[in-house]
Subunit: 219 residues, 2 copies
């Protein structure tokens, strides 16, 4: 199937080889598809987007420097709500997928799909408004079953708590951390207790392992 009118796309991905390769592929998939622009990240997209020449669909990664996929989709929602976003990402973590879907993206594809499926996805997004694979649907169902409070707790962590968590993943004592954050050690105790509750752990080691496991803190 070809696309009814000229389909226009844009690519947002910091992996230059991948992005250039995708553009070549699209040429093969359907030469009538127009690639309006390509960008390295969300900031780059903001500079390149032209209100008089908007793409129908933006194909976007999640991990990008300077302005990641999440913030980029939020910005698009606020500024160009009619543009549809199809995520192309290696990340298959449930939290990431769910978060993107909550932001309203119209599809989420892994980078290991065949070009034919990419074509199907583009077609479905144009005709049906979305393209969700069984894998994605399975994630959606699963997330309903996970402790909603727990999921919300992660999203609702304050910036101060996040900072504390980062510092707690080190050999600093709570006293050291208090100094670092210009707070009282007793305040730090409070943060720790809050996070123990929110993340359902019961020791500092548990906290550190949780943070690393869920990508909140890098090693």
């Amino acid at each position: 199937m070809n696309f009814p009118d000229k389909l226009s796309l844009a690519f947002v991905d910091d992996h230059t080889l991948f992005r250039k390769g995708m553009i070549s592929l699209v040429e093969i998939i359907d030469p009538t598809i127009k690639v309006i622009f390509e960008a390295d990240n969300g900031l780059d997209l903001q500079q390149k987007i032209d209100p008089l020449n908007l793409p129908d669909i933006i194909l976007m990664d999640v991990n990008m420097p300077h302005m990641d996929g999440f913030k980029t989709v939020e910005w698009l929602n606020n500024n160009y709500p009619d543009i549809k976003v199809l995520v192309l990402s290696m990340i298959e973590q449930e939290e990431t997928i769910i978060r993107m879907l909550k932001l309203g993206v119209k599809g989420y594809l892994s980078k290991d799909v065949e070009p034919a499926e990419l074509k199907d996805a583009l077609a479905a997004i144009i005709h049906k408004g979305f393209y969700y694979t069984d894998f994605i649907t399975g994630k959606l169902v699963h997330t309903l079953q996970v402790d909603q409070q727990h999921a919300e707790a992660i999203l609702k962590m304050s910036e101060r708590e996040k900072k504390f968590l980062e510092l707690a993943c080190s050999e600093l004592t709570y006293s050291d951390i208090a100094q670092e954050m210009f707070l009282s050690p007793k305040t730090i105790d409070g943060y720790r207790n809050n996070l123990f509750e929110k993340l359902k752990v019961k020791s500092r080691v548990g906290l550190a392992l949780y943070a690393v496991k869920h990508g909140m803190v890098k090693l």
Copy 2:
């Protein structure tokens, strides 16, 4: 610069879009380059490689299902030592890079390079035998300074200490761990002190983070 004779390549990467896109790009970089085959992973490569029609260079990812980049390079070293490998990967962790270089790969590029640099890398591998960026060289230097310490530490760890380390990466108290290992809590104190010395850390959190970072314990 064009390549002297027909350069032949193969691609090994589980991301189909990326792989197909790369093939398209190579066509643009130099239409005389021949892509002999493409594979999803190491096992796929083993099935597709033809001893009578070998590529000069294999461009390969590191993370692949079923048979990762490390095992794949080892297999190639044993079976087709004349084939050169250029790694194309998102992974910039020092351990991964060093491990690949130790296995003898002739270059390691991030997936966010420009196509022009890819071309340079291919040319350098053909003419000089390798292509190492400054970034990679920096990793090599650093690893000389750190590798020895880490290797020595690992060699000196007893099986009991390793077991303790695994259990210490949890919310168990030392008392719990002692019961689990059928030892006295005082013995556990001794293990902890030994590991603090060997791994140069000074707290249980430091121990846990070290263990996870160096792959001694999985999350």
